[in-house]
């Protein structure tokens, strides 16, 4: 570009004033620089958005690709699996119980050695480790081979999703630290009927003070093994006996080993006071606003209840504030730790005690996991020989009980629960239990759907494109068709879902009675998506055909090729990369489609991988949609992991399209 030079007095010999020119050049460069800056900013913004998306999905998905599994030697007792002893596969299938033996095996490893089973009270907490659905494969195995009954077989099953998440460090935080003050462990007599009968503690022995060794960890863990525990009842499966004996213990601490936990406790009480006061305020308003009679009474009762609660909290708070006198140990100034309070567990001598009453230097609690090395009498515990596990989130606000957390940690420390690659995610179909849910039904469903879509759409679309581009006369009718193909490409996908539901399912399937046109089948989904991708492929194919230079057609026609021959021998091969690219992009679009498929019943719960285009299936995007809607937290990482799988396929398909374009593109 040359700057137009305006003749002026300042011009000398036809050269414009250097100054004026310089200013103009500078301005032009500034404008250019600014424009480029905007461009870079735009690109950066787009890249940043993409990065945020991918990273956030990847972070959520991360935990879904590995899974904690428990390995157990399950003894398939006949009394549970086949009580009638008839070895009838059908009967075993319907009434055989393999989860019982599994829980028994779990209890056994937790009691490590089996001489002293776990307290019966904690049976549900053991059972929370594994869901019964997880043992379905074991039951199938037994049904297939009843000879296994009576034998012990090794199984490896995923643990329950909540505890799996906990072990992966997702969700609420638990803090484990090494005790930093010496302590005394006192075993108390088994209590009866929940009424605590306590033996007064012996005076605390002075232990050597050691360096406070703090070892924060997020997960609980226990040493393996258990020894005869004086107060444990016998047998996890023994029928409940009223007033069943439970092991209890008191632990006295030399220093302020509990300061952390007490801090959490104060914070929790303060939090609750604040909430309750707010509630009272709200109720006061209701009362003064003079709402109707019945409500007024109800409100009044509620208000009184809350007032009482606040009073209690205040007392507790005052108690905590003043500090609890260690000398008045068993008395009124200990604080009860209900389900609504932070949890404290102390692990020592291979066992775990869960605190039920606490003061600054003393806890009193129930033995959740028996000691391996139980003292006959009061025993001194050195600094560093025990750990404290604190969980700030009260037990009634989480799905996992303290005992379950203790057991899972113990099993993990023993190497019985191990994390591994979550193969089930790829080899299993959907399940109600997140730890058992996989994407196989979606993967195979997507495959069949895309297959049907391709077989139905590609030939039709390419044929239509060839006809319209090469053979059809250019007139009003073809113009109209062209405009409407473009319109069709812009129609929202969900409309195709409605169309598919009306035409394929309702009309052809129900009225005409074609049996394979039923909701939730890849056949129908593929046909709907074929309609959806048809215009896309037609448009892309026409563009590809158009881009073949007319000279090629002329050349062929010029030596006596017919129109057909010119098109199929010369034009189409040259357009093929573009046509293929269009088809692949269309298929990629179909792969990511969810809305129209939901309308034709692809959102059904599919617990078995489809076996063909006429067996019930779901597809990946719909699976993502369904899972994202699940209340279980463990479905969130699964959802993200599925998104990643879908993205991988989409990227692969787009890469294939780019490859086809590059590899087969010809220049002329």
């Amino acid at each position: 570009m040359t700057e137009p030079a305006r003749p002026s007095a300042e011009m000398t010999g036809g050269v414009p004033s250097r100054e004026a020119n310089g200013a103009r050049i500078r301005r032009r460069r500034r404008e250019e620089a600014r424009f480029q800056l905007y461009g870079r900013l735009a690109v950066l913004t787009a890249l940043a958005a993409l990065a945020v998306l991918v990273v956030s999905i990847a972070l959520t998905a991360r935990t879904a690709f590995w899974q904690n599994r428990v390995t157990l030697d399950v003894t398939l007792a006949e009394s549970a699996v086949d009580p009638s002893g008839k070895r009838d596969p059908e009967e075993i299938r319907f009434s055989g119980d393999v989860i019982g033996p599994t829980y028994e095996a779990l209890g056994r490893v937790l009691a490590a050695g089996g001489t002293s089973p776990l307290p019966q009270r904690f049976a549900p907490d053991v059972e929370a480790l594994v869901t019964d659905l997880a043992t379905t494969p074991l039951l199938k195995q037994v049904v297939a081979d009843p000879g296994l009954i009576g034998k012990t077989i090794r199984i490896r099953v995923p643990i329950n999703d909540d505890i799996d998440l906990y072990l992966k460090g997702a969700g609420f935080k638990a803090q484990r630290m090494r005790g930093d003050a010496a302590a005394t462990l006192i075993l108390t007599a088994p209590d009866t009927g929940g009424a605590a009968v306590r033996i007064p503690p012996a005076p605390p022995e002075a232990a050597e003070s050691g360096e406070p060794g703090e070892e924060p960890g997020e997960e609980p863990g226990l040493a393996a093994g258990v020894a005869p525990e004086p107060s444990a009842i016998t047998g996890g499966t023994v029928p409940d006996v009223a007033g069943e004996a439970e092991g209890r213990a008191i632990i006295l601490f030399e220093g302020d080993a509990l300061r952390n936990f007490m801090g959490q406790l104060r914070a929790e009480i303060a939090r609750e006071i604040a909430i309750r006061e707010q509630e009272t305020g709200r109720l006061d308003q209701l009362v003064t606003a003079g709402t109707g009679g019945g409500t007024g009474v109800g409100t009044e009762a509620e208000r009184l209840g809350i007032a009482a609660r606040i009073e209690l909290l205040r007392q507790e708070s005052a108690l905590l504030q003043a500090g609890i006198d260690p000398a008045a140990s068993a008395g009124s100034n200990t604080l009860a730790l209900g389900d609504d309070r932070p949890s404290l567990m102390i692990g020592l001598r291979g066992g775990v005690v869960k605190a039920e009453r606490v003061s600054e230097t003393r806890i009193e609690g129930i033995i959740v996991k028996p000691f391996t090395d139980a003292p006959a009498l009061d025993a001194a515990v050195e600094t560093g020989e025990y750990w404290l596990l604190t969980i700030a989130l009260p037990q009634n606000q989480r799905k996992l009980s303290d005992a379950t957390i203790v057991y899972a940690g113990a099993l993990r420390d023993q190497g019985i629960i191990k994390a591994g690659f979550n193969t089930g995610f790829f080899t299993r179909a959907d399940s109600r239990e997140p730890e058992l849910a996989g994407i196989l039904a979606g993967l195979i469903g997507s495959f069949f759907t895309i297959l049907v879509c391709m077989v139905a759409a590609a030939p039709l679309a390419i044929g239509a494109a060839i006809y319209l581009e090469e053979f059809a006369p250019k007139n009003r009718v073809t113009d109209f068709i062209e405009v409407n193909i473009n319109n069709l490409a812009a129609v929202p996908a969900i409309v195709y879902g409605l169309l598919g539901a009306a035409v394929f399912l309702d009309f052809l399937g129900r009225r005409v009675g074609i049996p394979n046109l039923a909701p939730g089948l890849p056949l129908v989904a593929g046909l709907v998506l074929a309609l959806r991708t048809l215009p896309t492929i037609i448009i892309a194919s026409r563009a590809a055909l158009k881009s073949v230079p007319p000279s090629i057609r002329e050349a062929a026609l010029g030596i006596g090729a017919s129109k057909m021959q010119a098109v199929f021998h010369h034009v189409l091969p040259l357009a093929a990369p573009g046509v293929l690219t269009g088809a692949i992009i269309g298929m990629a679009g179909a792969l990511g489609e969810s809305a129209p498929l939901i309308l034709i019943g692809m959102q059904a719960f599919v617990s078995q991988a489809p076996t063909g285009i006429d067996s019930g299936a779901t597809v990946l995007p719909v699976l993502i949609y369904s899972w994202s809607d699940h209340p279980e937290r463990a479905f969130a990482p699964l959802t993200s992991a599925t998104i990643i799988v879908l993205l991988v396929f989409l990227v692969l398909m787009n890469g294939l399209a780019a490859f086809v374009r590059r590899r087969f593109e010809r220049r002329w």
Partner: protein
């Protein structure tokens, strides 16, 4: 088909208006009118083209030379909205008759375009394509022979015999144009139409193609559209001058260049327009 048959297919051969009737008239055009939609591109063109010689069409851009050329092998049929009236006979047979299949016609009336347009295939395939679709060779060796002979006649054999299976698009412009000519003569046409075959070539390649045209004229009826009057003078025996869709005059090339009868021809060859 948008083109119509001549209005009077059985009309007796009228004495041509301006052109002398040679003993071997290959193409006989009578009252050719061509329309693109409403726009008329040719007005009552009547001419005789002799066999086994080169006839040049000259004239300013847009005067209808290509249109007339494309009427001779009915390539205009492939153009949407193009309408033809009049009569063209080749070997005294009306090529717009219903019984004539334009596809068959085009095999015997080859065409070479302004820009070399080899297929993006091998040199061999380029030449073999025509014979293959017209089933001119029964065996592989027959095909080899046709390809060799065609390339030989197009003067390209020596240059490409070692790389017959390399892409034809990899040749130089001049070679490509000769390849296209080889492709056209591979189907044994009687007439070869060339629409400005040298306008995309450098002078040396042009010379080679012109020599080739001279050689081919011994066996074929060649019609060449050219922008270069020097080229017309060098290669053609007869020249036709078109202007605004009219055939202004046609005659032996020397006469047209040295002693044009029409003032428009005079103006054109002296460079006053075009």
């Amino acid at each position: 088909m948008t083109a119509q048959s001549a209005a009077n297919p059985n009309s007796p051969p009228n004495p041509p208006a301006g052109a002398p009737m040679g003993p071997e008239v290959k193409v006989q055009a009578r009252n050719v009118n061509v329309f693109y939609g409403d726009k008329q591109a040719l007005f009552d063109v009547t001419m005789d083209v002799p066999d086994k010689s080169v006839t040049a069409f000259i004239g300013p851009s847009g005067c209808g030379k290509s249109t007339f050329l494309r009427s001779i092998n009915r390539m205009n049929d492939t153009i949407e909205n193009c309408r033809f009236t009049g009569n063209i006979q080749i070997n005294a047979r009306d090529i717009y008759d219903r019984s004539v299949d334009p596809v068959v016609l085009r095999a015997s009336v080859g065409m070479v375009f302004q820009k070399p347009n080899p297929f993006p295939k091998s040199i061999y395939e380029n030449v073999a394509y025509g014979p293959r679709i017209h089933s001119l060779a029964r065996t592989r060796s027959e095909m080899d022979a046709i390809v060799e002979r065609s390339l030989m006649r197009a003067g390209l054999w020596g240059e490409v015999k070692d790389r017959l299976h390399q892409p034809g698009t990899g040749l130089s412009g001049g070679q490509q144009q000769r390849l296209v000519i080889a492709r056209a003569i591979a189907v044994s046409p009687e007439i070869i139409l060339m629409d400005e075959p040298c306008s995309a070539l450098d002078p040396i390649a042009t010379t080679r193609v012109e020599e080739l045209i001279g050689d081919l004229a011994r066996n074929f009826c060649i019609i060449i559209v050219t922008h270069s009057m020097a080229q017309a003078a060098r290669v053609s025996k007869r020249t036709a001058f078109f202007h605004l869709g009219n055939l202004v005059e046609m005659g032996p090339t020397e006469e047209i260049f040295t002693n044009p009868r029409d003032s428009r021809t005079q103006d054109y060859i002296t460079g006053r327009f075009g």
